[in-house]
Symmetry: C2
Subunit: 415 residues, 2 copies
Amino acid sequence: MVATCRPGCETVLIMNTQELLATTVDEHAALVGGLIETALAKRATETVLLADALDRITAGVVFSPVDLPLFRNAQMDGFAVRSSDLASVPATLPVVGEIAARATTPGALETGTAVRIMTGAVVPEGADAVIPLEDTDADGDSVTIRRSRTPGEYVRERGSDLREGAELLPGGLRLAPRHLAALAAAGLSTVDVIARPRVAVVTTGAELVRPGREVELGEIYDSNLVALTAALRAAGADVTLATRVGDDVDALLAALQDAATTSDIIITSGGISKGEYEVVRELFGFLRGTVGEVAMQPGGPQATADIAGIPVIGFPGNPVSTQVSFEVFVAPILREASQLPAGEKRSLTLAGSVSSVRGKRQFLRGKVVDGDRVEVVAGPGSHLVAGLAASDVLIDVPVDTTELDDGDSVETWTL
Amino acid sequence: MVATCRPGCETVLIMNTQELLATTVDEHAALVGGLIETALAKRATETVLLADALDRITAGVVFSPVDLPLFRNAQMDGFAVRSSDLASVPATLPVVGEIAARATTPGALETGTAVRIMTGAVVPEGADAVIPLEDTDADGDSVTIRRSRTPGEYVRERGSDLREGAELLPGGLRLAPRHLAALAAAGLSTVDVIARPRVAVVTTGAELVRPGREVELGEIYDSNLVALTAALRAAGADVTLATRVGDDVDALLAALQDAATTSDIIITSGGISKGEYEVVRELFGFLRGTVGEVAMQPGGPQATADIAGIPVIGFPGNPVSTQVSFEVFVAPILREASQLPAGEKRSLTLAGSVSSVRGKRQFLRGKVVDGDRVEVVAGPGSHLVAGLAASDVLIDVPVDTTELDDGDSVETWTL
């Protein structure tokens, strides 16, 4: 290939000879997966309010600082009694007071008396059973109890749900509402969780314009910044930086250095194919990264580098290539790190026929019809961003398949 | 039952005679579902930035304001040519310039010449094919092309992905990253979406203390506020207000009136059983709501009311009752409104035996073991908040079942 000698071209030329020629999808996924796993293993623990803890992952076992329930309390609205006073029923007892569910320190219950009690209220010393309201007849200052109860009935003993010091929640648990409820019930207002994956996104290309602005001929709207940011969030990551740079190596380097200070991982789009002005390729050359071809379509050019110890994953810039690259190389491992369900893969029946390129694993855009059939939508072009939006699966065509016929079984990745 | 005459007791007594005695779970679910559906049907449309639009639902069809691609551009790095100049190959053509992917208005390509072109760059007038770099040999100011190309090859025609004015996205679509990418690619920076369900949470009870504070004997930590807030968010709702009131009808009324100004739906917990100081029951009496018993455990007491046209759904206050009530009566319909997947229900094999109360549909807390067996964790007590946290399914025991044996098939709701 031709290369005009620009700053850094020497390194780029060296790199070209080291290119990952015809690397397989699985090989590149293993490379990227390893980089991400190593980066995520270094994540810090952070303390968050319960209100912010939904879907976060506990950093360690949480032990209960209290007994649950906190105190012996009534399970029903009714009357607290000594069960020994109900040896024969019906029995009529004087009602000597009332205990509501609120801060209170009731005196001990005398033998031969009853106290009106509400659900959740402190059961007084001496009382050992609560008689539900529906088993009683109240008459002024006394109550007639129609059936006897054994000791402990309708009494919730202190610590009967969980003892102080016992495990309230395990470590590595993705926090659902019921887990937050348990933390709150134990009086905790915060929880230690593993930091979310912090990922920066840098899109590159002199042709890119922010949506909403005017474009001139030759410019296009940057869809990758929006798509990668949203895809990262959907995969459980925090997006620490989302920025766009033109075809300027210095600006790109500055953006990556900036991102590296706050991120575990950096993703770039664009600038790694074989044309001129491939700034990511150029910079990754300086950084002694890898830039090469993966045997897939879309998404053939792929790159990795390291900046200040932070892995940089370089995707190609065509919108469909960028999005498919994310789904194939990054989304699975981020979802796993956040304990999100893995993307669904299923076999469907192809509606129509497809030809594919030998030597490249194709991820065609498909739409499910009639439940278990899938038809190809849009062509294979990696610029067909509306076509991708109209699809709901990727059809995974094996590397050596060149023809698929109507009725063939195909593997699909649900988007 | 006994009732001390307090303000509003007349209405409460009327209500007691109107009580929904032994209403079934399905009947109450239909009542609550209808109230929520009616409330959600009134939701407004709002315009949000693409960066905030993930998982939102489009308010209507979005038509593309532009052709996609915006202009005729190169699919490959290479040379733009007139295909008629390649009638015999190899053919050597003078390279008269270079077109990069950026703002530019190239002149028309003269017959018998080639121009260096980058992926995505404007294909000049006159050129009708792009020759990939790998099919060429460059030599100074000329290029030798080794194979011919038919008109249109490696040229992306303007509008070939989507025409201006055509449907870019349908209405009622939950926005995934690829949909946001399509909006951005068309130059849109915002999208009209349906407002999320706006739900207020009001927990009640003089015994409730905010987690993190000190408790006195008789007080417990409020876990319902945290649990309902998180559960609402997990079900796709915006929580507009989350507040706690004591056993004070005026304060409750003020909170509901406040909530009604910003919410589609209000959920309360506590205050609807048969004891004293049941402020929700009292207020719902004034409001001519329903307070009654549903044939289920936990979660028997259930209530509804209307305040300023906004439905109020009243759950019982025991933490397990509150959370199960949400799962059974509210979560399914909110999830559907947000196009979230329905909660998974599946048949599992019971490990151990269980006895249940005739006439009540039980939702026991269970834990899946060995993949397809489920064991009961914790007792049936509706205060066992740690037990609920330790479970991963609810075991749905039919209303008339009183005994289940080891090995029986049971229906479960995945939490």
